[in-house]
Symmetry: C2
Subunit: 459 residues, 2 copies
């Protein structure tokens, strides 16, 4: 293997090679992502309306469809240096084990305490909140990756951090909760008695263990009813994909450094923050007609918004207090089976990713969770990293593509995003280790029922 | 801060700057560490005797007091490349928060899935076992860091891995157990019915939740009674410190690259694997009269082998099946308070570290666990990494030394070892977060009682 000598196991950028601006893929999109709509009037949300909920500078980023590069403030660049650049790893061991001629690379975002890529946007959002002179921010978290990342960022900037954590996770993932508390955040199980919407939900559904959509509604209410607070969100929004473009920019710079051109780029997709960030610069190449790649979004078969959802305006939260977003969606009432352990549970998909998918720039595929955990375990044993279930969706498809190369003899270059580590997902791994994990695929009837809840919006 | 521009946040070595040989500090020691003794005859253990328990090549390394550099086999170098070099991080944020003129660096060994430095020796020991044509290895684990690392290494080399896990940890740390199982290891709660010594202990102490010393005895018995198995150990032994010298060698190379000379080097000390590895090349400089550093070993006040132990031959395990080792020890019957959550629970200390301490080359200090967790939380919020309680002993003293510099105005350069992450220690963090953590310091009477169990050895 001559290449083994040429390409290091891990490609690190030098500090001076790190991105100094985020890339805004919308600038290169002919078909712009659809705007957020006011849920009452169905008119595009104005900056003024959005500034009641989000920080002013983040609103600008949310609405900016034209500026291709937005400078990363020096303070955020400095913070990034604490855990970035993340390594682009050549999966030599995996290639060897699979006996594939394919060359496999993964961008590993788990090398920070929050354990995932979420920190890239958390620090940006916390920074703008601080800059605006706010006291703190509110948010929701499900599995806990976003809440952990935001807690870290707020601790660093001395900003108050209030996290509404889906009650079932709060109880079943006490360690996640404690990580956030260690970083100084207050963590409230949702639904709670601290908000009107929470009290209302508790009255209607006593004993409910909560949902992401419900926690979003509570966090938004908490933000708009407290002086000096704004709401922040870890995925779906344009601003989040903008911040996450740092993943793709670093990946591209690392590949370019060694003259590597990827054939296939694979990312797991829940709300689209990782996928959108990873692929942005590559999608930009395609949009400008400068290159061509196969880009594959991988989602769970139990929550298949791209592969089985409708492309329509929908609510982002259960309480319906948020703007409407146009996206591939399963309907805001859709909740994946409680037995689904693989994450990526959001009912919708980022408007940017949805538009790119709609325009045929990216493919999508769905995988069943037992297959995902098989890939996760295989990867852990071979490459040494214990992956998050979310990330393992991408691993599954990367392995499948590498096996195809073995069969065809093609030396394709495959790049995938390894978004984080699975340290806090050992309950799911235990289930898998004990052979107790099943697959849960929604029926067409279930989806039809959920689609019926979509709002009627004239476009 | 001009230095901010000169020294990157993280100093990474290039692949060609990584160590190609381990450094054996014993070669430079005038007073060699005392040999292991046969527990029956009190004569030095011969290679032949040791080879019944350990792999042949590891026995050679164990007994080699003269070769200064032992080449790292290419296969191990290749594995190291999967997660090494580990970064040497300049703690700019911590310095700024502490308003200290001190320059603080830490060598972060938590950037691999095993979450700690233990992998450095695990892969070496597994490699030699594989090379010898063995089927598998046995070991014990307490908190689980060593067991996790060994499971990873064995998965990589297709070697069977049998872990005896202290029963109380097995039950209280199910996630650690599942990580090891995910890597394909079999994990048995100790004491168990699978060994004679286990059955004997269970008969004598029904309902016991086990101890490290007892798990060692079971693992050794399992190794010597199965065809094609050997026992491996994650600390204390000379061979382990040899492998861990990779930490110190990389640290020194990274410092040299930027012309940095440390004044103080700090490591946490349990059995001595991390401390010994980190300080070896620096101690070598001192032993050869080429440089001078303050080297500080930090241990828990609840298990103070260096600061309050006796320097004497002692048993390494409860079942007394292992050789005797001369070390600073609290007596093999000593078990720190069950309320001690900070790790570093072994009753003795590596013979090499013990000898260096005895000869005045290194200092030792002990810290109470609430102070340790205060430092851990402070560090997490400022530097972003959630440290293992073990590592946080070193953080505590590094912070204290940096504060002294603030008071005196001295611009000392402080280097400490950050051995791992605390993801699996959230029960302890929760206790601390809830203000329920106490300090547990053994009384002189308790220690005297334990010293009374030391074997009588004529030297």
């Amino acid at each position: 293997m001559a290449a083994k000598k040429e390409i290091p196991y891990k490609i690190y950028l030098e500090e001076n090679e790190m991105p100094k601006a985020w890339y805004n893929v919308r600038a290169d999109m002919k078909n712009k992502p659809a705007p957020l709509l006011n849920p009452g009037t169905h008119q595009p949300m104005t900056a003024q309306e959005l500034e009641g909920v989000f920080c002013a500078e983040l609103v600008q980023q949310e609405l900016d469809n034209t500026t291709p590069y937005i400078p990363i403030p020096q303070e955020i660049q400095d913070f990034y240096k604490m855990y970035r650049p993340s390594p682009l790893v050549r999966a030599y061991c995996l290639e060897e084990k699979l006996k594939t001629p394919a060359k496999i690379y993964y961008k590993f975002e788990g090398n920070n305490t929050s354990g995932s890529h979420k920190l890239n946007s958390a620090i940006a959002q916390a920074y703008y909140a601080k800059k605006q002179g706010l006291k703190g921010v509110t948010t929701e978290t499900g599995a806990g990756q976003w809440g952990t990342a935001l807690s870290m960022a707020c601790a660093y900037l001395d900003l108050d951090c209030q996290v509404y954590m889906v009650k079932v996770s709060y109880e079943q993932k006490p360690f996640r909760r404690e990580v956030m508390r260690t970083y100084g955040a207050s963590v409230t199980p949702s639904p709670s008695n601290t908000t009107n919407v929470g009290r209302q939900i508790l009255a209607e559904h006593p004993g409910t263990t909560g949902s992401l959509g419900c926690a979003i509604s509570e966090a938004v209410e908490a933000a708009v009813t407290q002086e000096g607070y704004r709401y922040v969100l870890g995925s779906v929004l344009n601003q989040v994909l903008l911040h996450q473009s740092v993943i793709g920019l670093e990946t591209k710079a690392a590949l370019d450094k060694y003259g590597i051109k990827p054939d296939i780029i694979i990312g797991c997709a829940g709300g689209g923050s990782n996928l959108g960030g990873l692929i942005s610069p590559f999608a930009g190449d395609m949009l400008r007609g400068e290159a061509n790649y196969r880009i594959i979004a991988v989602e769970p078969a139990s929550c298949p918004s791209l592969t089985r959802g409708k492309y329509a305006y929908d609510f982002c939260d259960t309480g319906k207090v948020c703007p409407l977003a146009k996206m591939y969606t399963l309907g805001s009432n859709f909740i994946p089976s409680a037995n689904h352990a693989g994450g990526l549970r959001y009912h919708g998909m980022s408007s940017i990713v949805s538009q790119l998918y709609h325009d045929g720039l990216i493919e999508a595929t769905s995988v069943e969770q037992t297959k995902v955990f098989e890939a996760a375990e295989y990867f852990a044993r071979v490459e040494g990293i214990l992956p998050a279930p979310e990330s393992s969706h991408a691993i599954r498809v990367a392995i499948d593509e590498a096996i195809k190369c073995r069969e065809t003899g093609e030396e394709k270059t495959i790049v995938f995003g390894l978004t984080g580590t699975g340290y806090f997902d050992m309950v799911a791994y235990e289930k898998f280790n004990n052979g107790e994990m099943g697959d849960y695929i929604p029926t067409d009837e279930e989806l039809e029922k959920s689609f019926a809840t979509l709002p009627q919006v004239e476009e």
